[in-house]
């Protein structure tokens, strides 16, 4: 069985009704018993819980501190290519967008890595558009040894692959795979993904199962907040997470909470997620799952990122570039989306320290599993 079977038995419309009819009393009950309780997650994501953000934040901060200490792991995305064989109306990499396309050569990759290492990072997230013929397994096989020799922790965010391909990536040193569903609403998904293999909602939905079966350590889930009702999308992601944790108990899980950002040829968000809503969502997930890793990207503004530091975040990027070759050539206009926090790594680290947070550069030893 895979998650699509479980998913087909959910009733999203009924869940939506329940979300919007949650009472204050139900939120209070959820606050008393949030861990591992999907009903509590629903209540904490509901509009009624907006009035309880402060107690949620207090509890989330305490749980995060207890579980992860005053630590936040730092990583950088490294864009391998902006080639893409899909048409997604919210993404700058969409195939019909008239932007310059670039795929890093081995030499360019090495040069990007040298800059990132110089800044102190030991954890990397490899990103590419979804183009399986030009940026597929053959390309990954030629590039990963270079990446693997430089970083202790390697995560990937690329097109969904088959189980045997993930097994191969694991052999090549990949520790984590991030695959964001974008939205858990099939009709919305179909509306925004109009061309390419990404149109296959179910194949994407079952990707975390394939990653887990391949023995990859960490699996990242995410929704693009703004494509549909974020409360319901977040809740459906909670169901997915719950299923995965119960089925593949040895794996670690992370979530990413990207809000829809402006990009070339992009759309405006259908449903706006406010800062308060984002805080509610982070806190709801922390209370639901104290061990969950939660990433925060540079999509958010510096002031918000600083204020979110103690509330549940465990990992963040700093000084990011969202274009292939962007660390060598910062202004090449190849971005996937606009970033909002353009501060340098040093500036972000300074803020972290001022707020009593210890930046963690290295938290994995590749030799254990790759040696």
């Amino acid at each position: 069985m895979t998650y699509s079977t479980v998913f087909s038995q959910l009733a999203p419309d009924a869940l939506s009704m329940k979300l919007y009819s949650t009472t204050a009393k139900e939120v209070e009950l959820a606050l008393r018993n949030p861990s591992g309780n999907i009903d509590s997650l629903l209540a904490l994501l509901s509009p009624a819980a907006m009035a309880y953000i402060e107690p949620m934040a207090q509890q989330a901060a305490q749980l995060t501190r207890q579980r992860f200490g005053a630590n936040i792991g730092l990583f950088l995305p490294l864009y391998l290519s902006n080639l893409c064989a899909n048409e997604c109306d919210y993404c700058g990499f969409s195939m019909s967008n008239k932007v310059k396309r670039k795929t890093l050569t081995q030499e360019e990759l090495a040069a990007e890595i040298a800059i990132i290492k110089q800044r102190g990072f030991d954890s990397i997230l490899l990103v590419s558009g979804e183009h399986e013929t030009k940026v597929g397994m053959g390309y990954f096989e030629s590039m990963l040894p270079i990446v693997n020799s430089a970083f202790n922790y390697v995560a990937m965010e690329v097109q969904p692959l088959d189980t045997h391909q993930y097994q191969r990536l694991g052999q090549l040193g990949v520790d984590a795979v991030m695959v964001y569903q974008e939205t858990y609403r099939p009709h919305t998904y179909a509306k925004h993904h109009t061309r390419g293999k990404k149109q296959d909602f179910i194949y994407r939905l079952d990707t975390p199962d394939r990653v887990a079966k391949a023995g990859i350590d960490k699996i990242g889930l995410g929704v693009l907040l703004g494509l549909d009702d974020w409360r319901l999308d977040a809740l459906l992601m909670g169901f997915h997470l719950d299923y995965l944790e119960k089925t593949y108990w040895r794996n670690r899980y992370s979530i990413s909470l990207p809000r829809l950002r402006p990009c070339t040829g992009g759309i405006t968000p259908k449903v706006e997620l406010t800062d308060a809503g984002l805080v509610q969502m982070i806190c709801a997930f922390r209370l639901f799952n104290p061990q969950l890793e939660i990433s925060l990207s540079t999509r958010e503004l510096p002031s918000l990122r600083d204020n979110l530091l103690p509330l549940g975040i465990t990992h963040m990027s700093a000084g990011s570039s969202t274009q292939p070759g962007g660390y060598m050539t910062p202004d090449s206009q190849l971005d996937q989306f606009e970033i909002s926090d353009s501060r340098s790594v040093e500036q972000v680290v300074t803020q972290m320290k001022l707020r009593g947070i210890n930046p963690v550069w290295k938290d994995w030893e590749m030799g254990w599993v790759k040696g």
Binding site: Q66, G69, N71, Q291, N358, W364, E365, W368
Partner: protein, 271 residues
């Protein structure tokens, strides 16, 4: 003094290095705790530039470092981490932690025993983190571990000695030091562990996540010392019934006391 392998410790409070906001706070807390054995995670040590910015200050405190294998999910990874620790730090002391379950970080008993046996054979001073399982602790002792470190409750939970019944059996049976590790969340719980006869306790989260780590470290130090002294002094036995000041059976030795005989009972018993 507590002796583990060839090393003596006057403090029975062991501490960790994780979860602190910054290195200064950590160093002050360790100093305040009086701890002479401090664990640190191998996965966080970074010697790529020839040094690690945590190691130097720790070594300047004069504490013995106990590298741990946190993050290892099986015996193979843990053995590699131990070998790495030896290579990097020159110590064969290793806190063996193997938890394939990232949710509660509960130790895998089978992989732990496999790794412990191998490492002991290679001359390592092995201190395994385990569930409070008396049989497993005996098996680990048999393969040559220098100490066992059973959990009081899940790591970082601050729930205290939830496994007390089994900890008592482990302490009663062990011929190697029993160090209560994980879950101790308050000085009173550390004190209780020591009163029970634990050789030492290891505390990290409760100190690191407190509002004033340095102050809390001192509280733990005092509690551990008090608990140890209470154990040595010999706690009075716990009775579930009051000790009568006028015993009911004194008549057996004092013929002047007359106790009425309950005849009805005698008749019923004799039928």
């Amino acid at each position: 003094m507590l002796t583990i392998a060839d090393h003596q410790f006057s403090s029975r409070l062991f501490t960790g290095t994780g979860k602190f906001a910054d290195h200064n706070t950590m160093l002050q807390a360790i100093a305040s705790s009086g701890s002479q054995l401090v664990t640190l995670a191998m996965k966080r040590i970074d010697l790529t530039r020839g040094h690690d910015n945590l190691l130097g200050p720790l070594q300047s405190l004069g504490v013995k470092l106990l590298p741990n294998t946190a993050g290892a999910r099986n015996a193979k990874e843990a053995i590699f981490a131990a070998e790495l620790a030896y290579e990097m730090l020159g110590t064969k002391w290793i806190k063996l932690e193997i938890h394939p379950d990232p949710k509660y970080l509960l130790p895998d008993p089978i992989e732990t025993l496999i790794a412990a046996q191998y490492l002991c054979e290679q001359g390592y001073i092995v201190m395994p983190y385990v569930h409070a399982d008396p049989v497993l602790c005996r098996r680990l002792e048999e393969v040559g571990c220098a100490a066992v470190m059973p959990l009081g409750s899940p790591i970082g939970s601050n729930q205290g000695l939830a496994t007390e019944t089994f900890l008592r059996i482990i302490i009663e049976q062990a011929t190697i030091p029993v160090i209560i590790d994980a879950g101790i969340g308050a000085p009173s719980q550390a004190c209780r562990a020591m009163e029970m006869g634990a050789a030492a306790v290891l505390v990290n989260t409760a100190i690191a996540s407190s509002a004033y780590p340095q102050k809390m470290a001192k509280c733990f130090a005092d509690a551990v010392a008090t608990g140890r002294q209470a154990y040595l002094a010999g706690l009075g036995a716990v009775n579930h019934h009051a000790d009568a000041t006028s015993p009911l059976t004194a008549f057996l030795t004092d013929s002047s006391i007359k106790v009425p005989i309950p005849t009805a009972h005698i008749m019923r018993d004799s039928t």
